[in-house]
């Protein structure tokens, strides 16, 4: 699908992708950027610089309480946040797609049960449960955390896939395939999957947003993966803990906030953009 066609179909999608791409590139080139910012110093090493320095050309966001360059940490935190989010989002999407597919394809009782189950997960407040689990599981490694986050993010993706499978299932070409005796699996791969790809994108975007939200929620109460891993949520937690607001050091608090908002906005734009681009009934009216 050519870029220009995509752009014509949905500006939202392209802008969202552009922002996300920018963020991903920054995360990817973190080591390089770090070198440009502070040379060979590890951004999380304490005491590298003086504490609470004001923003300057040497330290774009100044330094924090422990004398660490905040900008360098921002880039590092972006990287970890994206990694964890992407991982959790992928796991969540995988679970969601499987459930959504089964529900949409099989229909009937299976569908009803799965739907009720999914709705239940969506209704229940996830944060207290996540926090409780995180607090009691000893040693939160990144994979464990990703799994935990995926636990409540998968329903968002499941619904998108399920509704698309449902509508595709009754399309004439699927019936045609059934009539021509293709086996179930063949039908799935040749007919349904290509049409599901945009919805896969929607699932992934929604699940990732959910995962990063959950992740931030955990870190704001100090329950992150800990260790040397620093994420955007953790940065906010730290800065508030140091009383940065009272000290007037907003450059410590708001940049990670803005970064997270940027991630959410870009993912949501991709979400909405995908729906716009691939669900023509929504936007364009061709009259007649």
């Amino acid at each position: 699908m050519g870029m220009r066609v995509l752009f014509a179909r949905s500006k939202l999608l392209v802008i969202g992708l552009a922002i996300l791409l920018f963020l991903v590139l920054v995360a990817l080139f973190q080591p390089l950027i770090n070198k440009l910012l502070i040379g060979d110093i590890d951004p999380i090493t304490m005491g590298s610089f003086d504490s609470y320095l004001d923003p300057s050309p040497q330290h774009w966001l100044g330094t924090d309480r422990w004398g660490r360059d905040w900008m360098a940490q921002l880039v590092l935190g972006l990287r970890y946040s994206l990694v964890i989010g992407a991982l959790a989002g992928s796991v969540a999407t995988l679970i969601g797609v499987i459930f959504g597919f089964i529900a949409g394809y099989k229909g009937g009782m299976v569908d009803s049960t799965l739907r009720t189950f999914t709705d239940m997960i969506l209704v229940i407040p996830s944060w207290p449960i996540l926090v409780t689990l995180a607090a009691y599981i000893r040693g939160l490694s990144i994979p464990t955390m990703a799994l935990l986050l995926a636990l409540f993010s998968w329903p968002w993706g499941m619904r998108a896939i399920r509704s698309q499978v449902l509508s595709l299932r009754s399309q004439p070409y699927v019936d045609l395939a059934k009539v021509s005796n293709l086996r179930d699996l063949e039908i799935i791969f040749t007919e349904l999957v290509p049409n599901l790809l945009p919805y896969l994108g929607v699932s992934l975007a929604s699940a990732t947003v959910g995962a990063i939200l959950a992740e931030t929620g955990l870190e704001l109460i100090g329950l992150g993966p800990g260790g040397d891993i620093i994420t955007l949520g953790l940065m906010i937690n730290f800065s508030l803990g140091w009383g940065a607001l009272a000290l007037g050091k907003v450059e410590l608090v708001f940049p990670p906030v803005l970064c997270l908002i940027l991630i959410f906005v870009s993912l949501n734009m991709i979400n909405m953009g995908l729906e716009e681009a691939f669900n023509p009934r929504l936007k364009r009216v061709t009259g007649g």
Partner: protein, 327 residues
């Protein structure tokens, strides 16, 4: 001498889309006489539904009324500055709506508000256009329901509790609530089973007698026109092909297209003969054929048909046809 209720002049309704300009109604002119049942016939896509939607000013973007004039001096107040329905202001036309011109839309099933009781949906219109009190309006609704053969108790029900036929009758009852001068029925029998179709037509005939109103019936179903229409306007590809009294049209169709339409009606009484359809397919509004729009499918096509569009001509009193065979 018949009085004229509506004088429709050069109605053009276009749809501007990314794929081009759809000229769905492309220069339609005819009169509607007081107290008659005027049928508008033609196959799907000829623009007849769009035409009446235009008359009712219900066209929404991307469609718009390109040009046109609908002179209706008997309908417009003396207060309005002119008698062209299309150039009244929104508010002026709103006052005309329902009180003078009511509507039985195509697919009436979905025209009822799902979250309001039947009664309220008719009462609100009555209250909007008259000085009835709510009590009086409710009583009137009961009477209306009886006229169309429904029990007044259904007034307190919700649309989803009624069957398709019942909903259709509610729509008809609503249409006559304010005793309008004109009732426009768009495909009143489509998508209904045969017994209900008959009931709907009988109801329409009955209300016409009781109210002495004018009815415009739009239908692609020729037998419907045979049963209730007095005069017929045949449309094809956004234009008028033939106009005349219904018996004349059925007995002596002039335009080749009309002849084709009549020939598609199976007859129970006369000898069995092979049904002939009209060869070819309907053209698309984005690209009407040149000259006479029917020429690609016409059996009696001549060279001039492809080059020049035939004008609608009165070949005998009240009888109009747009065909080079008669020019």
């Amino acid at each position: 001498m018949d009085q004229t209720l509506l004088e429709i002049r050069d109605m053009r309704i276009y749809y501007a889309t990314t794929l081009g300009n759809y000229k769905v109604v492309d220069g339609v002119s005819f009169n509607v006489n007081v107290d008659e049942v005027l049928g508008i016939a033609g196959e799907s896509g000829c623009g007849k539904s769009t035409l009446v939607e235009g008359l009712l000013r219900l066209i929404v973007p991307p469609g718009h009324i390109e040009t046109g004039e609908v002179a209706a001096p008997l309908i417009t107040d003396d207060e309005t500055t002119n008698c062209d329905l299309l150039s009244l202001t929104e508010e002026e036309f709103r006052r005309v709506r329902w009180k003078e011109i009511s509507y039985i839309p195509q697919g009436s099933m979905n025209s009822l508000n799902p979250v309001a009781k039947i009664e309220d949906q008719i009462v609100d219109t009555i209250l909007a256009h008259s000085s009835f009190t709510r009590q009086q309006a409710k009583k009137h609704v009961s009477e209306l329901l009886e006229v169309v053969g429904l029990s007044p108790e259904i007034a307190r029900l919700y649309p989803h509790e009624l069957s398709g036929g019942m909903k259709q009758r509610v729509i008809i009852a609503a249409a006559i609530a304010l005793k309008p001068k004109l009732v426009i029925a768009d495909e009143p029998t489509t998508a209904l089973d045969v017994t209900i179709q008959k009931m709907v037509l009988q109801t329409l005939v009955r209300i016409k007698k009781q109210l002495n109103c004018t009815i415009i019936v739009v239908s692609h179903d020729m037998p419907v026109h045979a049963q209730i229409s007095d005069r017929l306007v045949i449309m094809y590809a956004g234009k008028v092909m033939e106009i005349g009294p219904v018996n004349d049209i059925f007995g002596n169709p002039l335009h080749p297209y009309t002849q084709g339409l009549i020939a598609t009606i199976p007859s129970i009484t006369r000898e069995r003969k092979r049904l002939r359809g009209i060869p070819g397919t309907s053209p698309s509004p984005s690209e009407w054929p040149s000259g006479c729009r029917f020429h690609p499918r016409c059996e009696r096509v001549m060279e001039v048909c492809q080059q020049e569009e035939p004008k609608l001509r009165e070949v005998s009193p009240g009888r109009f046809v747009a065909c080079h065979l008669y020019l």
